[in-house]
């Protein structure tokens, strides 16, 4: 297939036009209007990403609670001492500033008649503010007004590195295949997490930015905290947020108390493990019940919690024009499929987000940054959880806004020479171009969906990704190895299919990183559960596992969490 070639140049290239990429673009232009900022988005900026697909909640921290209090709660109960407590503190501290910024950018956030925020309490020490699903459209309008350039339907496929510094990226149009070489002084990766194209709504996170950053040599951190799983209705696959508080087995026994003694902020991997145990014991299927008379027997809210019953709180979360319409369409459709059935089982979501970044969201490659869902665990801020929600509902959009602002400020403050970005050697460009388009030149081989199918068969069964054991991980790794082999002769029929091939390859890479790191971590911590190492091991495993591509080989090493410098330490 023929395609055109174009060379582009900019100061800052942002890969991904979701809420994180848009935040960074706006922040950079507001702080330093002279910088030439280009967003390249695989689908349509303002419509792509996850923020406008039904989430629409922002984390809110009560003014009467100090950032230090929340950080302590999070470190002890969710992050399990594996987090960067300094970054988490900064995130909480900037809460109000972030909300005010969103309003100044034209986003609609609800307030009470007296001017205070309209807040919905959700869990211990957390609350939410709803934001309507046009948030990213408002941000696109703001970015455009500031002079940000936007290229839609174009995917960033590879990053160019010159020595230890970023030099730009290769991209192509998914409509006509045009090949772009984009020279840039700075690159911001904002391409979302790895969701392995599995659960509806979450499936846009396909890890291609993560895999490209890995191939470029960027360090990855906390790859093993990557497989978020929710519970869902069996017939409609409709997620039941907070449903874990109402789980019953086939004998009619209330099983929530087996894994939960108080109402937690969100689902815990223990709930998923409990489902698996019930099924193994022959006491499945598991279903949900909401009997009024038994409300007193539910796990009591933790001290200081204002949490209301899940259903009522959820209804209020969707009290906004776009959200209401979304919910209505989903509800009507899923109810007709469920026909009253309350049977549930795990719904695999994924959420691997391992690009390692520092407090400025800078990766280990100079001039390259990563924000939002592609670097959530890589930032180490949250500790032992997958990317948002990561047992911290409302943190997805707000974390992307946080990272975008921090990264935008860092880039805007950098001194640029005023000259054009450095040239990218022609032989490098030629090699990358050949590799990108190779699947189109093959007339026989594997299809992208063959590879994706294999990866899903490895990572989706929860005993291979949430409640793991060495032999089960080996089995899964064998399937991933098969997928890797199949990915070597991928063939594509058109540009849409070519993108699927690159996404499939990214899924293989992310699964490989997940299993390599998971095998290495010989303990259980936070979301990460191993049957063969069931306990937390603060003596030996207060460590981050770093994964890096060194000359084409996956390497792993550990770094001690600098726990001595943090205020919260394990006993």
């Amino acid at each position: 297939m023929d395609y055109k070639k174009e060379n582009l140049s900019c100061d800052v290239l942002i890969a991904g036009g979701g809420v994180g990429g848009l935040t960074a673009a706006i922040e950079i232009k507001e702080k330093n209007p002279d910088l030439d900022v280009l967003i390249v988005e695989k689908q349509t900026t303002g419509y792509g990403g996850k923020a406008n697909k039904g989430g629409g909640v922002l984390q809110y921290f009560r003014p009467d609670m100090s950032p230090a209090e929340f950080v302590k709660f999070h470190v002890e109960n969710i992050g399990c001492y594996l987090g960067d407590q300094d970054v988490m503190y900064k995130y909480v501290e900037m809460n109000t500033e972030m909300l005010e910024k969103l309003i100044s950018w034209g986003c609609n956030l609800p307030k009470n008649p007296d001017g205070s925020w309209f807040v919905i309490p959700t869990g211990p020490m957390t609350s939410m503010i709803t934001v309507d699903l046009d948030i990213t459209l408002k941000m696109r309008q703001r970015a455009t007004k500031l002079g940000v350039r936007i290229m839609d339907k174009t995917t960033v496929a590879e990053f160019f590195v010159d020595g230890d510094k970023i030099a730009g990226a290769a991209a192509y149009s998914i409509l006509d295949g045009t090949f772009y070489v984009i020279k840039a002084k700075y690159v911001v990766v904002a391409t979302g997490s790895q969701n392995y194209r599995f659960a509806s709504m979450w499936s846009s996170g396909r890890g291609d930015g993560i895999a490209a950053a890995y191939r470029a040599g960027a360090e990855m951190r906390n790859c093993e905290f990557g497989n978020f799983t929710q519970i869902a209705k069996v017939k409609s696959h409709d997620e039941v947020v907070f449903g874990e508080n109402n789980m019953y087995n086939a004998k009619g026994e209330f099983i929530t108390p087996h894994f939960r003694s108080y109402r937690e902020t969100d689902i815990n991997s223990n709930a998923i493990r409990e489902w698996y145990w019930q099924m193994l014991a022959g006491t499945g299927p598991v279903h949900l019940e909401y009997p009024e008379r038994e409300q007193e027997s539910r796990p009591a809210p933790a001290e200081g919690t204002d949490s209301k019953e899940g259903g009522a709180a959820m209804a209020r979360l969707f009290d906004r024009p776009y959200g209401r319409q979304f919910r209505m369409l989903n509800t009507i459709s899923s109810q007709s499929a469920d026909q009253g059935s309350m049977e549930i089982c795990p719904l695999f979501i994924g959420e691997q987000s391992p690009i390692r970044v520092d407090g400025d969201m800078a990766t280990s490659i100079k001039g390259m940054y990563a924000i939002g869902d592609c670097s959530y665990t890589g930032s180490a801020a949250p500790g032992a959880v997958p990317a948002p929600p990561g047992r911290n509902r409302g943190s997805g959009i707000l974390n992307a806004v946080f990272a975008g602002i921090v990264c935008g400020d860092a880039i805007a403050a950098l001194k640029t020479c005023g000259c054009a970005p450095a040239d990218i050697p022609a032989e490098k460009v030629a090699a990358v171009e050949e590799a990108i388009y190779a699947p189109l030149k093959r007339t026989a081989g594997h299809k992208a969906k063959d590879v994706i199918d294999l990866v899903q068969r490895a990572v989706v069964p929860i005993e291979q990704s949430v409640y793991m054991k060495e032999d089960r991980m080996k089995k899964a790794e064998g399937i991933v190895a098969e997928a890797r082999e199949a990915s070597k002769d991928l063939c594509a029929e058109d540009w849409h299919d070519l993108l699927a091939c690159h996404e499939a390859e990214a899924m293989v890479t992310c699964a490989e990183m997940f299993y390599a790191a998971s095998e290495m971590r010989k303990e259980s911590r936070g979301w990460f559960l191993r049957e063969d190492y069931p306990d937390i091991d603060n003596k030996n495993w207060l460590k981050w596992i770093i994964v890096q591509n060194v000359d084409g080989k996956m390497t792993l090493h550990t770094e001690d969490v600098p726990i001595d410098k943090y205020p919260n330490k394990p006993e």
């Binding site: 689908q43 349509t44 979304f326 719904l347 969906k449 199949a486």
Partner: protein
């Protein structure tokens, strides 16, 4: 060689209601919908990739689009016979 991961959701489209605004095309985050510039109408080109997110339907003010999920064509892939 391997089972595929195609879904079987359907998208019903009434071209007589369509005013050519293009919002459905922009809204689709998985490239199911392409755009016919000449006729200013959506082309539902890769329906087997539809994730039934309802975003195109919710954006269409003329109610020209209806997404009809086929939930049975989606997978749960858990290791117990009823969820495979």
């Amino acid at each position: 060689m391997f089972p595929t991961i195609f879904t079987k959701h359907t998208i019903e489209f009434d071209p007589s209601k369509c005013v050519g605004c293009g919002l459905c095309y922009k809204a689709c985050f998985v490239d199911v919908i392409r755009w016919d510039e000449e006729n200013r109408k959506p082309i539902f080109k890769y329906v087997e990739d539809c994730e039934h997110c309802f975003y195109c339907q919710s954006q269409c003010k003329k109610e020209a689009i209806r997404v009809v999920p086929n939930y049975a064509s989606e997978r749960l892939l858990q290791s117990f016979p009823q969820y495979k």
